[in-house]
Amino acid sequence: MKKTLSVCFVVLALTFIYAPLLVLFIFSFTDSSVFGQWNGFSLQPYAEIFTGSRSGRIFTAVSNTFLLAIISTAISTVLGTLAAIGIFNMRSKTRKLLSNANQLPIINAEIVTAVGLMVLFASLLGIKSGWLTLIIGHVSFCTPYVFLSVMPRLYQMDPNVYEAALDLGATPTKALRKVLIPMIKPGIISGAILAFTISLDDFVITIFNNGSVETLSTYIWSDSKRGGIDPTTKALSVVLFIIVLVVLILVNIKKSKTNPKEI
């Protein structure tokens, strides 16, 4: 009885979590711009992503989003990994201070980070909002996550292995490339994946610093602020959402195979 009750509660809560997503999925198959209105089954919204009057804009938004995520991930992965190696080798007081500084963009309210960057670019540096400000903004909130996933790997590493490489005649550069980097590679990769998803997902930092560059988030935002919504936007949402879901499931299956206890 108690068991059934608790299962019921969990199922109910899961329904609550998934009902809106399911409703969005269902209503993406109808050609209506009114929320919650069903005009009969149609695949038109999906076709219009590729052929409709907005398809050019959608294509630009998609490619901007991915380009931005790729560039920001590349920069923040290098920056964060180097920083982790460097800071790991510092005295524990400095290490602690810098690790705390690294936490700031994570704990800070996103809107405050966004507004701060906007003011900095506009009034002090005189950079017009656009690609440069977007990339800097995204790197600023992606790097902390790379740093956080590389750091534990450095702590877990047996320092003797690295020193053995040096003793055996490897130059420091070679030891770094052939021993240190391979050993922390899982951390670097998961940091990069994390950075990529966070960048793809971002809206708040983007909307304050994008200038005229449109990403998927800002595209959906500009469309959904109005009373109604373009049917293609709903279809597009579902497509994105399924991509995210598939990627997540794949990553987690892989992860639960290698490391079942960690979520």
């Binding site: 899961l14 609550f16 969005l24 929320f35 460097g86 994570i106 309210a109 405050v112 990553v251 979520i263």
Partner: protein
């Protein structure tokens, strides 16, 4: 060897420079901006505007209320779920927890679009209750994850000891389980409260601008027609203070099991 360790520290300098420029300096700019007139001269008028024009303080209070209601609802719904799941065997619970946190990785705008469609379908008006529904919906996973982490790490022998000593079911819950999961509770509260107060996406999408909370107001003061970046900066400072306060509280109760945002991976 000695020389090399010095070299390796240098690896951190690009990021340190980056942090100074693009993480620390923006916060300094906000601080400076709050004390500056449009022509750059020193002023306290932005602060007095914030404290006297009524709108800002009233809105801050309203936002804290909304944040409080959302956080309490998330806790009431999230705690039993986390507790139930922490009692299940770990591989089954792992899958269900995964189901709960998966939506965290779907763009907030998309989730809110879904919420809006759902609310329209059940005939709900777009207003305060819609906003609270959307907020709870959005932030519930952020509450469940730390609670689950904290509860599943709880040493079961404490519960057994309490039972052996004759505690009833509710006594075990209120005198043993809940006190031991305080770090998870605090971490969940901070992960829900601050983002709730500072959001503007959910309120604007689910109330067509009728419900305005602190995040909306900051957004408005920086980008709107009646923009006053000085007052906006003051509001950002207030937000920053809220963030710092909640983290001070969090650190006081911290244990190492508290996950960072994005703990899924």
């Amino acid at each position: 060897m000695k020389k090399f360790t010095v070299n390796r520290k240098l690896f951190a300098f690009p990021y340190i420079l980056f942090m100074l420029l693009f993480i620390l300096l923006p916060m300094v700019m906000i601080l400076v901006g709050a004390f500056q007139n449009a022509d750059g001269s020193f002023t306290l008028s932005k602060f007095s505007k914030f404290f006297t024009n009524g709108i800002c303080l009233q809105n801050l209070w309203f936002s804290i209320e909304i944040g409080f209601i959302t956080t309490v609802l998330c806790l009431i719904i999230g705690y039993p779920i986390a507790y139930i799941l922490s009692r299940w065997n770990s591989s089954k619970a792992y899958l269900v927890v995964l189901l709960f946190v998966l939506p965290m990785w779907i763009n907030m705008l998309l989730r809110t679009l879904g919420t809006k469609t759902f609310l329209a379908l059940i005939g709900s008006q777009m207003g305060v209750s819609a906003v609270i529904f959307g907020l709870v919906y959005n932030f519930l996973p952020f509450m469940i994850l730390p609670l689950y982490t904290s509860l599943s790490n709880l040493d079961k022998s404490y519960i057994e000891a309490a039972q052996d000593l004759g505690a009833t079911g509710s006594q075990v819950l209120f005198k043993t389980v809940i006190p031991l999961s305080v770090p998870g509770i605090v971490s969940g509260i901070t992960m829900v409260f601050v983002p709730t107060v500072s959001t503007f996406v959910i309120t604007q999408m689910l109330s067509r601008g009728n419900v305005v909370i602190f995040g909306d107001l900051i957004y408005e003061y920086f980008t709107g027609i009646t923009a006053d970046q000085g007052v906006g900066s003051v509001m950002s400072i207030v937000m920053l203070i809220l963030v710092i306060l909640s983290n001070v509280v969090l650190n006081k109760f911290a244990d190492n099991s508290a996950p960072v945002k994005g703990g899924l991976w």
